[in-house]
Symmetry: C2
Subunit: 267 residues, 2 copies
């Protein structure tokens, strides 16, 4: 399971404040903790600072780079910020995210190629969100094909079905699961990924919903997630789910996690 | 979700001791607690007492009957004990369990019909367990057809894929999930059910594995389970999973569970 740690996001109030106070130590602590907890990539987002996003993003990246070699995920819808981020990010960067929206695709695909990025590919085009899951699959199919035609290897594509809140429609979570399963079946080598927190929007005990959903998604073949790796329960569920999904041979990662105390207090 | 509470099982050491000490109050307490926690049926098993199973089972049932009107699940492989149990059980009993094994089927089907039981139908025949999931589906198909030919309504059949420990083979959990999904698709109206604890046999933090597996199974359409309803985390995951699986309209059961304090401390 590829874990992108989501905590260095300027839309979170504690991170926003740390940025405003130029408190690099706080951000560095968050980066280190996420790596220690199992994050393979650290997402960095400065989107709350529209007027000087590029400058802030560069500063955040420099701060993180000073304390960890973990690769970074550059999180912005804006090509200018993405480019600035990728040029500072170091090896094996993630671009979070491209989509099938025409302008966004056109602006970002040169960067995906230039930096040989792994890329989150959102299943959305200019017609916007839809409740029709076969349409979502169609958008994903088209986006994956176009990325591959543009030279992006399957293994660098992380397709996101864009999970919407189950509090709004009972079909949204199960629909996203079916998209994940279909993408995995139809596009060998392409990864699937989710941001987890949308699914629980509007419900109480959101972490419980997120933790339960991640288990379901891993059972459908999801192999990456943008999550809070400091949520110990969530990480424990991910270990358990991978063992159950048959992607953890002999349950060795699960058993190792237990030995390292990572499952303590769970179950 | 139909929950059968599994705790009144003589193979559990505390229950065995209570039976030996004729401690009806202990068993009654367990029955009441399971009903309060959300069990719709109470499983009763006296199988650890081979020489006087019938007598013990009758005594257990009488004890439970004195404190709750909840329907019972009579749990034995032996027709004599099942008959004794069903005759004492009261309304809407479960028979746990029938299978496609010839002698077992022949001995138990008259009781299923006589008592209009709901019945756990194990996907196993005289050739024993197999790793071939299409063979398991074939056994399930045949058993369901035979039960229906014998007059058992689809709605009374609870097909169990017989989950085996994921510690033994990485494919066992995911294979059972595929069986659940296929039975639901091929046999409208027939339920699917699991005993949960087998899947985690041989692994540490077994409850974590069981809780994670139940979420995956509910996402595939499983609508009944034989579980420990006093495991608060497990019950919370079940509420969350039903909301995510789209079988809890407007997440009302989930939100009600939260209001009633059943999700407290979770997530």
């Amino acid at each position: 399971m590829l874990i992108i740690g989501e905590l260095l996001n300027s839309t979170r109030s504690t991170v926003k404040r740390a940025i405003e106070e130029k408190n690099a130590v706080y951000l560095q602590g968050l980066a280190k903790k996420q790596v220690e907890a199992g994050a393979g990539w650290i997402d960095v987002n400065a989107g709350a600072f529209a007027s000087n996003e590029v400058e802030i993003l560069r500063w955040m990246i420099e701060a993180v780079r000073n304390v960890t070699d973990a690769p970074l995920s550059i999180d912005s819808p804006r090509a200018e910020a993405i480019e600035a981020g990728l040029s500072a990010a170091g090896a094996i960067p993630f671009l979070n995210s491209i989509s099938a929206e025409k302008n966004r695709y056109r602006a970002l695909i040169p960067l995906v190629k230039k930096y040989s990025c792994r890329v989150v590919a959102l299943s959305i085009d200019d017609s916007g969100m839809t409740d029709d899951m076969s349409a979502v699959c169609g958008v994903a199919d088209g986006l994956i094909k176009r990325l591959q035609d543009d030279g992006v290897p399957a293994d660098h594509i992380f397709c996101d079905p864009l999970v919407r809140p189950v509090s709004i429609s009972s079909s949204y979570a199960i629909g996203a699961l079916s998209v994940i399963e279909k993408i995995r079946a139809d596009h060998p080598g392409v990864h699937t990924i989710c941001g987890l927190s949308n699914v629980s929007y509007g419900l109480p005990k959101r972490k419980l919903i997120n933790q339960t959903f991640v288990a379901m998604a891993i059972a459908r073949g999801m192999d990456a997630a943008i999550v809070d790796p400091l949520d110990r329960r969530l990480m424990a569920v991910i270990y358990a789910a991978e063992a159950l999904a048959g992607v953890d041979s002999f349950c060795m990662n699960y058993i190792t996690a237990e030995r390292e105390g990572k499952l303590e207090g769970q179950g």
